[in-house]
């Protein structure tokens, strides 16, 4: 890492490809992300992939604030893409990283973000193979945007897809719903809510690997319920698979902080994002084993069976409320606005 002082800032020169760019790449990126694929710093990385099918996913991260309890934009950019690849039943191996940085961004903040990306890569066992940095004039982006793309090798004999849910199967949620969304709302501090809610942001490819090792074809769908939360992810699955899904309110893990934030602001936690939880749809007889595996994972100790796939709900996602009554859980239409009275 550098010995630059705390107030040094990124300038447009760092994006112009000259000496300043060279120093930025050498001092910050190359040392933190060092890998056999990246180290030559050529125009493209050469990768020797094992034969077979790959899963390939890209995502852009524009979160605000960039630092939040439980993570930052860098950790999120790695974990998000790792989880997208892993949820397809692939073993994530390589990541590309593109930064778009606003002129005037603090070097020290960039170092922190890059450091947490490197940490998350180590944790997930993936390597950054190639990258790019652009610096744009002040105001052209909000602080820093990051794009990551991931490649993983698909496991033979396993096919996971949102279209493969079958009536009779069960739905597991591996962690409390909506915590990332709640953490970000609180971190924005627009409403002076005191206290901290920690995002669940983390890579779960190790969990996916264990689940597929032990349960194989009993699992047919995995989805990380990010934007739009559990409700949206389940709606996507019900539409793709043309099945109904019934979830049971009293079985859905929701943390007290998430609940409190939702109550104050009029949000439904089922629509708030997770960044370190998975929805798993699997054969009912595999549920106990899957839950045992989840519960031995440090980030999934609150995993629960929350519902089941049905053929009788007209293709809808339905919540059985604690009252015993049922109601539809639809796609979110429009934005969530704070209540006014």
């Amino acid at each position: 890492m550098t010995d630059k002082n705390n107030n040094e800032r990124i300038t447009l020169a760092h994006g112009h490809g000259g000496l300043a760019s060279h120093h930025l790449i050498r001092d910050i990126f190359a040392s933190a992300f060092s890998s056999p694929e990246l180290d030559p710093l050529d125009d493209a990385a050469n990768i020797d992939l094992p034969t077979g099918e790959i899963s390939f996913s890209t995502d852009s991260f524009v979160i605000q604030p960039i630092f939040f309890p439980g993570g930052d934009i860098g950790k999120l950019a790695i974990a998000g893409t790792v989880n997208d690849v892993a949820a397809m039943g692939a073993k994530p191996l390589f990541i590309s990283v593109g930064f778009i940085i606003e002129e005037g961004f603090l070097f020290s903040d960039l170092e922190k973000i890059v450091g947490s990306m490197a940490d998350e890569c180590r944790h997930a066992g993936v390597r950054i193979a190639t990258g790019d940095t652009k610096v744009v004039p002040k105001g052209a982006v909000d602080k820093i945007f990051i794009n990551t793309t991931g490649i993983g090798i698909r496991r033979k004999g396993i096919k996971l897809s949102g279209a493969l849910a079958r009536p009779g199967q069960s739905v597991i949620l591996t962690g409390p719903a909506g915590v990332h969304g709640a953490a970000i709302i609180v971190a924005r501090n627009e409403l002076n809510i005191r206290g901290k809610v920690y995002s669940d942001c983390c890579s779960l490819n190790d969990l996916v690997e264990q689940l597929l090792d032990k349960l194989g074809q009993a699992i047919t769908v995995m989805r990380d319920p990010t934007r739009g939360g559990v409700a949206t992810a389940l709606n996507e699955i019900s539409r793709a698979s043309k099945v109904g899904i019934e979830i049971v309110e009293t079985e859905i893990p929701i943390g007290p902080e998430t609940m409190a934030v939702s109550e104050i602001l009029g949000f439904d936690p089922l629509y708030l994002a997770n960044e370190g939880a998975l929805l798993i749809i699997l054969d009912d007889d595999a549920v106990d084993k899957a839950l045992r595996i989840c519960h031995s994972h440090p980030r999934c100790m609150e995993a629960r069976k929350i519902g089941e796939i049905r053929d009788d709900l007209g293709g809808k996602v339905v919540l059985k409320a604690a009252t015993g009554g049922r109601r539809i859980v639809d796609m979110l239409a429009g934005e969530m606005l704070p209540r006014i009275c």
Binding site: L191, T250, P256, M259, A260, E263, G266, D268, D312, L313, G314, K316, V318, L319, K320, A321, A322, T323, G324, G325, R326, R327, I328, D330, A333, G334, M336, L337, P338, R339, I340, C341
Partner: protein, 367 residues
């Protein structure tokens, strides 16, 4: 959360649901109206319509302040937004409600300065920071929100602020309930009165409604509160009684919050007021008193308002009166959904159409 957890205990809720279904009810249809939008939202959210006996129907009422704001009120707000000297401050829901030819959201995209605030008081800072502009706060709300508007005006009265005014769009609930109680098409058998409004006004203002033979029960917003309220209403209705009853005693007192009521009346006078769907209801709105005219937006900075046009097809008016349910409107779920609302009932997070759309979907739950 500890203070609300007991009101969501599955065991409690199921026992209350069972009690409703065990009540000896007459065979005739029993129509109950939940007046408040928060009740409507929670009735749907907790699946309460699904557990009621077949002959008990919950009808959603007019208790959504955004929804009952007449189109002329929105047009006035839009006229202010179009004035380059004005900064409009508003609660978030208002910006997407369509007026006659535009919405605040459309005006904002054309450059109008419209800011979302969480209380009237937030507008004062904006007024202080923009001395060359006039800040107009859209003063919608019921008895719960109006004391805050009053307090804002009282707090700045002698502070020399000359560029802040409230557009008086506030309403009071009981006169609308009296009107609905008399409506033969609705044939109501009970009102679930709004929890928060009742904490301000107490029980007495509902007595004229009860005297018309319609029971009124004040209930909280948690599912156990709502179920308890429904039980109380059904018990009264089945015995042919009609009293004002309070099952929200942990918060709402019989005499309400006299101080808040006093604060309302110090700043506002009660006037006849137009409600979307109802027309003019006598004594149902508030207007800033003359002694505070400096903070009455319409006196501080009058604007010309375009002629009000009705939107063809939108049946918000009948929905607000409980005469039809949202799926009976031809626009519902087709031309009108929360992403492109045609009427306020689909915009507000407490609107009846938004509640139906969110929790029942554009289609009926198909068993």
């Amino acid at each position: 959360m500890k203070h609300i957890d007991p009101y969501r205990q599955p065991g409690t809720l199921q026992a209350l649901a069972a009690k409703i279904n065990d009540l000896p009810l007459p065979d005739r249809k029993i129509n109950l109206m939940e007046v408040c939008g928060t009740h409507t939202m929670n009735v749907h959210r907790h699946g309460i319509r699904d557990i009621l006996p077949d002959n008990v129907r919950l009808i959603s009422g007019p208790g959504c302040p955004v929804c009952v704001t007449p189109r002329s009120g929105l047009d006035t707000a839009i006229a202010y937004a179009r004035d380059s000297r004005v900064i409009v401050t508003t609660f978030g829901d208002m910006i997407r409600v369509p007026g006659s030819t535009s919405s605040l959201q459309d005006e904002r995209s054309k450059g109008a300065d419209i800011r979302i605030v969480y209380s009237a008081l937030d507008s004062i800072e904006i007024a202080l920071a923009n001395p060359d502009k006039i800040v107009v706060f859209l003063g919608i709300g019921f008895e719960t929100t109006i004391p805050g508007h009053s307090q804002t005006i009282l707090s700045i009265k002698n502070k020399g602020i000359k560029n802040f005014g409230i557009l008086s769009l506030g309403k009071v609930i009981p006169p609308a309930m009296e009107l609905l109680a008399d409506d033969p098409d609705l044939n109501l058998h009970g009102f679930l009165a709004a929890a928060h409004v009742s904490t301000i006004i107490g029980l007495k203002p509902y007595e004229p409604v009860a005297e018309k033979g319609i029971p009124v029960v004040v209930a909280g917003f948690e599912p156990a509160d709502i179920l308890t309220g429904i039980i109380a209403l059904l018990e009264q209705a089945s015995k042919g009684e009609s009293r004002v009853e309070n099952v929200y005693t942990r918060v709402a007192r019989s005499d309400g919050n006299p101080k808040a009521v006093e604060v309302i009346h110090r700043v506002f006078k009660i006037v006849d007021s137009e409600w979307l769907g109802f027309g003019i209801i006598p004594g149902s709105g508030v207007r800033i008193r003359d002694e505070f005219a400096d903070f009455d937006a319409e006196k501080l900075h009058p604007v010309e308002v375009e002629d009000t046009k009705l939107i063809t097809g939108c049946r918000c008016g009948e929905i607000l009166k409980g005469l039809i349910e949202p799926p009976e409107c031809v626009l519902f779920g087709k031309e009108c959904d929360p992403s492109r609302p045609q009427g306020a009932c689909m915009v507000s997070s407490e609107g009846t159409c938004a509640a139906f759309y969110k929790y029942q979907g554009p289609f009926e739950l198909n068993d």
